[in-house]
Amino acid sequence: MSPNLSVGSVYIGSDPNQLNGYYSYDRANPNLTWAKSRQTDVGLDLGFLDERITLNADYFVKNTEDMLMNIPAGIGLGSVWVNGGKVRDNGIELSLNYNSDPKKAFRYGVGANFSKLNDKLVSLPNNITTYGTSPSVRGLLSPIRTEVGHPLYSFYSVKTDGLFQSQDQINAYKGSNGTLIQPNAKPGDIKFVDANGDGKIDDNDRQFMGSAYPNFSYGVSLNASYKNFDLNIFLQGVQGNKLYNALKYTSLNAGGLGQNYNLLKDVLNAWTPTNTNTNIPRVTASDNNGNFGTNSDFYIENGSYMRVKNVTLGYTVAPRLLSKVGISSLRVYTTANNLFTFTKYKGFDPEVGFDNYGIDVGRYPQSRSLIFGINLNL
């Protein structure tokens, strides 16, 4: 397998002319083979009361070896496909459904599903321990790391410990050699944790801080009908995931990109000597302490949410009233999408999913919509 050469254009000459150039950016690997995976599933299907209660449970373990991995081909190059990653996924999926007695006028059903997935990178080829590069926030913050022993695509960031409230606190924050750990800090700046204890804050202080993979995700659907009315509710959510709210970088940072305008209203709650009970650092056009320029857990937030995704209420007009006017059926209904969202996440929309590995650079939020409809059959 030999990747195509890349083509670039250049200008050369006293009156420059455009010329093409060919180069090998992604590299070839003549020894590439298929990945091998082995999966074990255990499943259970149960039904009770004439299948009015059903339970499905599945558990699986999947071991993948010689996984195809696109690793950097080396400095100054693109990537190369190699075999060799070993990943273990295991997960559990449950679904439970209940339907009430179909002979009664008031009928309802409840369905719930639950799934939990773990994945873990067991090893990489050539005894390397990390691979890949992180997508970044405007080329500045690169929080994603894939390392042996950790879930794929974890956040790897410097830990914060609140804001400095006074110069005394800054002066008291010293390394073992007695020098200030954050000499550029001013009251209202973020205190970073010197995880490796070398007396300074840098990329060697990054730690694993969870990932956009949830502990579990779930959905609940309810449907009920009484006489001519019908109601459907669908809830959905994830629990225990983290999101990287990079919107803070662009929208709370008064100096970041050379623009101190178009900030979020939250910036009004930034630290000042009289507004100290906040976690938003002071407003400054320079960022000498790296409040915003540091890839830290200042950006990492709980991404759990529960969303009332869909609610539908319908009314079906009785057929005998309609047959005289040549209509065989008529239903009027209203549907609301994204009606409520319960979350602590501060970004626009917690439903970031795994796009960009959970780095939210201000993804356009999903709208709440209301639909009124008529379903008419002649």
Binding site: V10, N20, Y22, I75, L141, D203
Partner: protein, 503 residues
Amino acid sequence: MKNIKNAILLSVGLLLAACSKNLDIKPQGAVSENNFWQTGDDALLGVNAMYEPFDGEEFYGRGYMWFINASDDMVTGRINTNADAIKNFNRTYYSGGYTVDQWDMRYSVIRRANDLINKVPAINMDATLKNRYLGEAYFLSGLMYFQMAYNYADDRAGLPVITRANNNDPNPTPRAANITVNYNYIESELKKAASLLPYLGQLNTADYGRPHKVAAWAYLSKLYLYKKDYANAEKYADSVINQGSRSLMPNYADVFKAANNFGSEYIWSAVSTAKGSSGWGSILPGVMLENKGWGQYNGWGYYQPTKELYDAFEQGDTRREATILKPGDKFMYFGTLNTYASVNSLSGYQFNKYMEPFSYANPVGSSISPNGDHPTTNLNVPLMRYAEVILIKAEAELMQSKNADIEINMIRKRAGLAAIQNATMDELKKQRRCELAGEWADRHRDLVRWGDAQATYAKPLHGSNGQVIWPARTFDPSINSVWAVPQTEIDKSNGIIKQNAGW
């Protein structure tokens, strides 16, 4: 009557796009490593690819100019915390941002040069062209390592050397033991280049912008100067001088005119053009232009000169007005005579050197790029010019306790200044600063290698109105004499590439 049923659906639906499956078929006629490097035409395509990264915004546009911007000659003219962190030697700068690709871009040129040197010798083709192509590869390889070496390597750690043999090895290459290892490698690359390359006069004008023998000598002289091998610095500067085809232009301001891109002072430059939809080459002229270009063009407003630089020029030095626009100066802009005043320059000054492309009426598309987000011009930004070779020779002489009056006075005379006798290093430093301000010759590196950076940066910088515009900075020579290795390279190498000590 037949009972026809029509279903009418009145609702808003969600359309799900179907996924298309990629077919595992290779396009016919695609060029891959397997069917390339067969002919002389292939070799030329491979050669051209080495120049492709030079169009990058952070190559000869900003890039190392962020490091040169750490000097006392200029300040970042607008609010930008990431840029401030670089100038203030604050370690928050190196995890990302403007300087993160400085290694990758240069190593991409080195990789392509290595491929070429591995493959081209076996091609059956014109021998003269083959030599030229190989010479271009050795020159660019040497130049890329040199640009990185003095910025990132010192006696404690060198740069990774990707040899021709390990050019296809995906395993990370550790840093060489020290900068001397790199300098020796660069020396060998540039000497091979010098032996293979033709003289500028032997190139067709369509090939101007490709390396030539004298450019290799000039960079050898600069390499030896940085290496403090002054005898060889002088020797290779003499090679350039005695070859005889290069000379100072009589009028300093003419050096920075597009018509003289390949004039008598040219040795090596960033080939640039306003052609195409986005231009090509160095965006430095647009980066230095007034932020938002007084409503006419997307100037970026970075890198503005300081009062310190303005005051460094002697009375009567014609280079001062050619170099700096100060409030009240008259200048041509988009075909009309303007009086310089800045809306937003932090210092109140602007560099004037690269303004010629903006002076004409209707310049967009002819002398400046149609794309203000990639503001190249038709002016080639100098990277090495004859005046610098003269100054390298002068410095090498002074460091060997020889008299350098001939060279110093060549520079002074062209600037409209009286000749002096027994010029000292102080005079050399002043001439180097005033002659090469705002160019890639690199004032910051000069201050570091002269041991002047700490004291210089401990003083605040001033604007045209005399106010402090940049507070004093702390420069620790034991740490800040080299810049921090881009963190992504450390991460990608799985920690095999180590950070510079102290950063």
